[in-house]
């Protein structure tokens, strides 16, 4: 591990839902304040602030970092915003790590926020603003359509039955029933997912995560500060490895069946943590669980393969057979994921990083993985389908 040792010491999460009363800034304040309170510190103890939010189009204010600064606790402090689309929520704690590991800051407050409900006529109108404005935008793409192209390619390449992919919606929406921030925890059957409305073949309604508003914050600090504040190690998750990677920005030029950029980001993180053997069997023992990005059910599987946690084309059957259930040997998305908790873009991936912290510190309540957990991974995906961001953390008492 390079640089100073950095620990996450608290998180704060709002409920994910249509937040008709609060502005984006007010949502950011609620989660930021919660994270500070949970760490037992105040804004006066913070020496750096990081804001993560996805396209400005969603909150409808450009330079959103400036708009969100006071709500995120950045008044009179060095403040920055990282932005890699959907990958932002995991990238923000990575920024927290390097700002502390570098010695630049000792105590950072990180907030990821998104408010998607105010945009009209729908969130997809906001996504339209991120496409190439010469060719693609004039053909009217939206994310459901282009992900349908990717999903079909993935299924075709490996001969994946749709039932195997649908099982991820059943698992994640079921897990979300135990998450207090969740907007769409549901007990479903594979048949219900299969029979839900077709949006863009092969994507059905229950294959997709719901649009939501929400915010998630974290406090991260150096080992010295953790000692100085007397924060017990069982409330700490150490950053073990980080990685991020960007593939070609021409999304049509990649073979969509496999996310190479996730592989590269993951291997960077594993190597940083000193884990040089990247075989799936070894990695599934080294990591106790994973929170891969699941805006669509097939993406969880796609990402598990990119993360080297399953061989190419092997994740769907494993999920279908229950290998990734919360009470199994290798739980995947114990939080309920974007599919169940909701998808306020940057905050959604922030929720995944928060779940790694909560599981490692035994604070996940009804979602707590029954076996001992020592090390977990959060991963997100973003920009225009070509960014992978990976964060590995380990428990406070793990050497």
């Amino acid at each position: 591990m390079k640089g100073k040792k950095v620990g996450m010491v608290s998180v704060g999460l709002t409920k994910f839902m249509r937040r008709a009363k609060e502005t984006p800034k007010e949502l950011a304040y609620y989660s930021a304040k919660m994270a500070l309170d949970n760490a037992g510190i105040t804004r006066k103890d913070v020496d750096g602030v990081i804001i993560g939010s996805a396209p400005d189009a969603f909150d409808g204010v450009h330079q959103k970092h400036e708009y969100l600064t006071d709500g995120s606790g950045g008044f009179n402090l060095p403040t920055m915003r990282g932005y890699v689309g959907g990958g932002t929520g995991v990238f923000s704690p990575i920024q927290g790590w390097y700002s502390v590991a570098s010695g630049m800051n000792d105590v950072v407050l990180i907030t990821t926020e998104e408010k998607m409900s105010t945009i009209q006529p729908s969130a997809q109108a906001g996504f339209l603003t991120i496409f190439d404005n010469m060719i693609e935008r004039n053909l009217g793409p939206n994310l459901v359509w282009i992900f349908a192209l990717e999903m079909k390619r993935y299924m075709e390449k490996h001969g994946i039955p749709k039932e195997h992919i649908a099982s991820v919606s059943v698992k994640n929406k079921g897990n979300a029933l135990d998450h207090p921030s969740a907007m769409l925890g549901q007990k479903l059957t594979i048949e219900q997912v299969m029979n839900s409305e077709v949006l863009a073949d092969p994507v059905h309604l229950l294959d997709i995560s719901p649009v939501a508003d929400g915010a998630v914050s974290f406090v991260m600090m150096s080992e010295d500060k953790i000692k100085e504040f007397g924060i017990p190690l069982d409330q700490v998750a150490w950053v073990d490895g980080v990685g991020w990677n960007v593939d070609t920005t021409i999304w049509t030029n990649r073979d969509l069946y496999y996310p190479k950029y996730v592989e590269k980001a993951a291997k960077q993180a594993y190597n940083m943590a000193g884990q040089k053997d990247h075989s799936p069997e070894t990695l599934r023992k080294w990591l106790s669980f994973a929170e891969p990005y699941d805006p669509f059910n097939y993406k969880e599987l796609h990402h598990l393969e990119g993360l080297q946690l399953f061989g190419k084309g092997e994740a769907p059957r494993a999920a279908f057979e229950g290998v990734t259930a919360r009470d199994s040997d290798f739980p995947v998305t114990p939080s309920g994921g974007l599919l169940g908790v909701g998808n306020p873009i940057a905050a959604a991936a922030g929720m995944k990083a928060a779940e790694v912290y909560l599981q490692l510190t035994g604070q996940a309540g009804k979602r707590q993985i029954p076996k001992d957990v020592t090390r977990g991974l959060a991963q997100a995906w973003g920009d225009l389908m070509q960014v992978g961001t990976v964060l590995v953390m380990k428990g406070g008492q793990v050497q």
């Binding site: 502005t23 800034k25 304040k33 006071d70 945009i119 004039n138």
Partner: protein, 154 residues
Amino acid sequence: MLPTKRNAKHNSVREVEGSFPIHFHYTAGISTEKFFLGLKEKKILGNTCATCNFTYLPPKIFCEDCFAELGNDTYKEVPQTGILESYTEIYYDFRGDKLETPYFLALIKVDETDTMFYHKLIDTENPKIGMKVSAIWNDDRKGSIHDLNGFKGI
């Protein structure tokens, strides 16, 4: 998309017409909703952080300095008078078109508040920084910033 005049004239593909076709139903927010409801009733509402002894106008749900939550009991009606702290006379609009009638924008320190309030300065012949100003109300109030026509020198 309609071609621009220039494209039509030169039969050129140098420019491609486009837009971001998005609209918003912005959430007013907890504090601004209260502020707008106040304006509708001809009241200017601010709120005070007791710890910092600092009054925000417009009100906020948190103190940006000490980060305390500012709850319902922190709101109060503030006076409708203040001091002109700065102003400018506007001659061109944001499109670059010359205005037929220039007008004044101002920063006003409303009495009993600690922040600067941005609005129009109206019906004031010889504006002077430091002069006292008073709020002028719109008769047709709907709960928006336009419920105030502006401030006038007194």
